[in-house]
Symmetry: C2
Subunit: 203 residues, 2 copies
């Protein structure tokens, strides 16, 4: 009797292995053979799911984005106006979030010269900004849509700028410092102070 295979789960497993390889050895180090070996499967199976290395990488990048999206959705399910919580979900404050940014930087390196990946990157930025703007609007109902959009632009700019430095120099960017940079955000300064007093900043 044939085994019932959860195809989505298998694709995700393959993507997780590929993500680890990207972080350890860079995009160049990702080969279908190594990914298959790491996932405990065959190159034929990996090739069945992904036409080529580019498709595999694309799915790997999308998985990192989905993981971030799940963190964001969890914040919004608790409180649709929790702007500080959204920033927390996106900043590289722990190993999981740092790994997501490492994957994204690897993705950017590819997207620079790949129009389709560049378009995906643009869309992801717009989506993230829309989520931030909605939360800003929910937190401050008197703001115009334009002001909420400006604020979301400023927030994502700060988050991205912090991540770009923190990923390569985590010692210089302990969590309280990352939060400090987002000081203007309601709740972020308080969070930084609380985390520092409690010694739970992870630094």
């Amino acid at each position: 009797m044939p085994k019932i295979v959860d195809h989505d789960e298998r694709r995700r497993t393959v993507a997780r292995v590929a993500a680890d390889l990207v972080i350890e050895g860079g995009v160049d180090a990702v080969t279908v053979r190594d990914v298959a070996a790491g996932a405990g499967t065959s190159t034929a199976i990996v090739s069945h799911y992904f036409r080529d290395k580019r498709e595999l990488l694309r799915f790997t990048f999308a998985e990192a984005a989905s993981r971030a999206r799940r963190r964001v959705d969890a914040v919004l399910a608790r409180d649709p106006a929790d702007v500080a919580g959204l920033c927390e979900a996106l900043l590289p404050l722990d190993d999981e979030r740092r790994a997501d940014w490492q994957i994204w930087f690897a993705f950017w390196g590819q997207a620079v010269a790949d129009p389709a990946l560049g378009a995906e990157q643009r869309q992801r930025v717009l989506d993230t900004r829309a989520i931030l703007a909605a939360a800003v609007g929910a937190a401050s109902p008197r703001l115009t849509a334009e002001s909420a959009d400006d604020e979301s632009r400023r927030l994502l700019t700060l988050i991205t700028g912090v991540a770009a430095q923190a990923v390569f120099d985590p010692d210089d960017w302990p969590p309280h410092r990352q939060r400090q940079l987002l000081d203007g955000v309601d709740g972020m300064a308080g969070l930084a102070a609380v985390a520092e007093v409690a010694g739970v900043a992870g630094s």
Copy 2:
């Protein structure tokens, strides 16, 4: 009579060709053969200057950084307190500056998994922040060194965050919008307004 060869110039020519290849086709597209062809020389000559592709890429990345450094030095030669001018020198406001950021994102993609490149990236961030902090201190002599450092951190965070979005979506980030994000910087808001009125924002 043997030709007199300017070795530095030749290395820079090779790096320029490699930079164009990175932007057009990504790091994967850079081959010693194509670089040699583009530079009008032989693979033997390229191999003489660069041990392997990694060394060639490393020099290419360093050249993009040097180009930015020359823009920064030109600003400081005119006015060591011109913080807004430094931001202008670094933001992707035209094709040259945008190309530098494209090269850097390609570099980050490599640096994620390469400790030596990661260390270079860390050092470049620290150097750039030191330059910004010195200018901030010169512009506002009453600031403590710590405040000037905090401000330099905030500035580089904003510049990097803007660049990370603007490079992939230049239509969404015309020069006046890039400048707007740095609104708190003395002179940036004025610059944005002037550029907009004069229609010279390049947008």
